[in-house]
Amino acid sequence: MAALLEVRNLCKSFGGVAATDGVDLDVLTGELHAIIGPNGAGKTTLITQLSGAQKPDSGRIRFKGHGITRMPAYTRAKAGITRSFQITSLVLDMSVLDNVALAVQAHDGHSFRFLKPARKIAHIRDTARDWLQQVGLGDRVDAPTSELSHGEHRLMEIAIALASGAELMLLDEPMAGLGPDESARMVTFLKGIKGTKTILLIEHDMDAVFALADRISVLVYGKIIATGTPDEIRANADVRHAYLGEE
């Protein structure tokens, strides 16, 4: 399978700290690729560079064979990369449906349209409603986003990522702050969509990662120290030493 996303020698420093230190990474079309690593390993910094929110100091990022290293975030989103946020990032003063509808609208032509009420455009609203149904928020569509629970917000993040029609989803700790039941629900859901989308998953929950991932890369102090199948990673001595904490 071809690499949908290729990252070569990516570097990013903050002051003297190298948050991303020569990262090479291939995310293959259709795979669920997890990135694990201890706190402060630079996982979120990597995601922000892939989504375009931050620019790398050096290195290259290619998506579908095209260089996107200097491309602004909104153009990358149009090209087919979307991300969810570790700290929930939603428009809190809009309804649940409005939030997802904005994601659908984003790839339904340009939005410099001033006359027709957006909430009356059936195909956008219906598509958004379908995605919310799929993540299990079908009965919450009209609620103000601010009234939903943390777990529901995490599901909204996923619904928005799916609704944006992206080929590559960068999921930054979708299980963060979820209880065991909610986590299990999220894992089941991600298993369901696995294969239909290419997913780069950052996650602390090891059970979830090993249950979901096709391949895993281990990031430690800004460097990828190993990439492989869950079994290979489990068996890798460096990983056990650096991360899993076993001698």
């Binding site: 975030a73 428009v91 957006a118 944006s164």
Partner: protein
């Protein structure tokens, strides 16, 4: 159209009062209230335009008085050249030309200053919009030919087809109709796809960028529409007061417009109109008792901001939209 909730009925009722009451006074021989209502209506258009960016866009423009100035000078300067010669090309009392220039220049100024200002956020945006407006203020202050800080008397009002602006009732009706059109325009815009993006970017800009929206462009377009609308209000204001001075563009005037929007209720259709109404009424009646009339206004603003969610509109229809 959009669903009819309580706020829609309140809006219709207040707008009906604003139309009928001054007329009743006028026909009973009291012209004062018609004049007061005309000024209120014109300022309300400016406040409605500001609300598009401030209320729905979350962009706190501290320079909207500049557009009122541009609009009024767009009436004053062509008229001045009709009476005192010079600048043949623009010397005219043709209202369509004057209003066209008012809207065009304002849109252009908004586009250029917006393109720069919108690269900043928060307090910096507030300061830079104010700085651009002050530049316009000092520019007119320094042009001796147009009266400098003494201002410019507008000798005759704009000549428009169908309406005679020398007739106070017709000037009022034109202003009122313009206000209604402005309110409907903003309402239509904010419910459109464009408006959804604008409001989304107010709530969470990072999210909108992640979805693929270049929110900078959406904000710039909104800022330009708002400036153009406010320039139109300025042209009406020039006709109403028959006088224009740079003082109308000063930063304190921009502040007053912000007060009106925030007092009335940001991101509501009627809020800016209510805010202007209260402002005009307080100014008119308190200033005859005391030169410190800003004080009760300020206290009221503090009270509303602290204790009522959604300004006067929130007080009238309860919180929410």
């Amino acid at each position: 159209m959009i669903g009819f909730g309580k706020s829609s009925w309140v809006t219709l009722a207040i707008m009906a009062i604003l139309l009928v009451l001054p007329m009743v006074f006028y026909w009973n021989g009291n012209t004062f209230y018609l004049s007061l209502a005309t000024r209120l209506t014109i300022l309300a258009i400016a406040a409605v335009s500001l609300n598009l960016v401030l209320g729905y866009g979350g962009l706190i423009s501290f320079g909207h008085a500049a557009y009122i100035g541009f609009g009024a000078y767009a009436v004053g300067i062509p008229t001045y050249h009709v009476f005192y010669g010079g600048a043949e090309g623009i010397a005219t009392t043709n209202g369509l030309f004057q209003f066209g220039v008012a809207v065009g220049i304002s849109a252009l100024f908004a586009l250029i200053t917006g393109a720069i200002s919108l690269r900043t956020k928060g307090v910096y945006f507030i300061m830079i919009t104010m700085a651009f407006a002050q530049m316009a203020y000092y520019m007119f202050l320094s042009i001796e030919e147009y009266g400098g800080d003494d201002g410019l008397v507008i000798e005759v009002r704009s000549k428009l087809p169908l309406v005679d602006l020398d007739n106070p009732m017709e000037l009022f009706v034109l202003s009122y109709v313009s206000l209604v059109v402005a309110m409907l325009m903003v309402r239509t815009i904010i419910h459109s796809r464009f408006g959804m993006v604008l409001q989304g970017a107010k709530g969470n800009n990072e999210r909108m960028v992640t979805l693929g929206y270049n929110s900078y462009l959406y904000r710039l377009v909104a800022f330009t529409i708002s400036g153009a609308m406010c320039g139109f209000a300025g042209a009406l204001m020039g006709n109403f007061s028959s006088f224009i001075s740079p003082e109308m563009m000063a930063w304190s005037r921009s502040g007053e417009l912000m007060f009106m929007v925030i007092l009335g209720g940001t991101a509501t259709t009627l809020g800016p109109v209510l805010g202007s109404a209260v402002f005009i009424v307080v100014e008119e009646f308190m200033s005859s008792y005391t030169v410190y009339w800003h004080l009760p206004f300020g206290l009221m603003l503090i009270g509303i901001v602290l204790f009522v969610r959604g300004g006067l509109m929130g007080l009238l229809v309860g919180k929410g939209r």
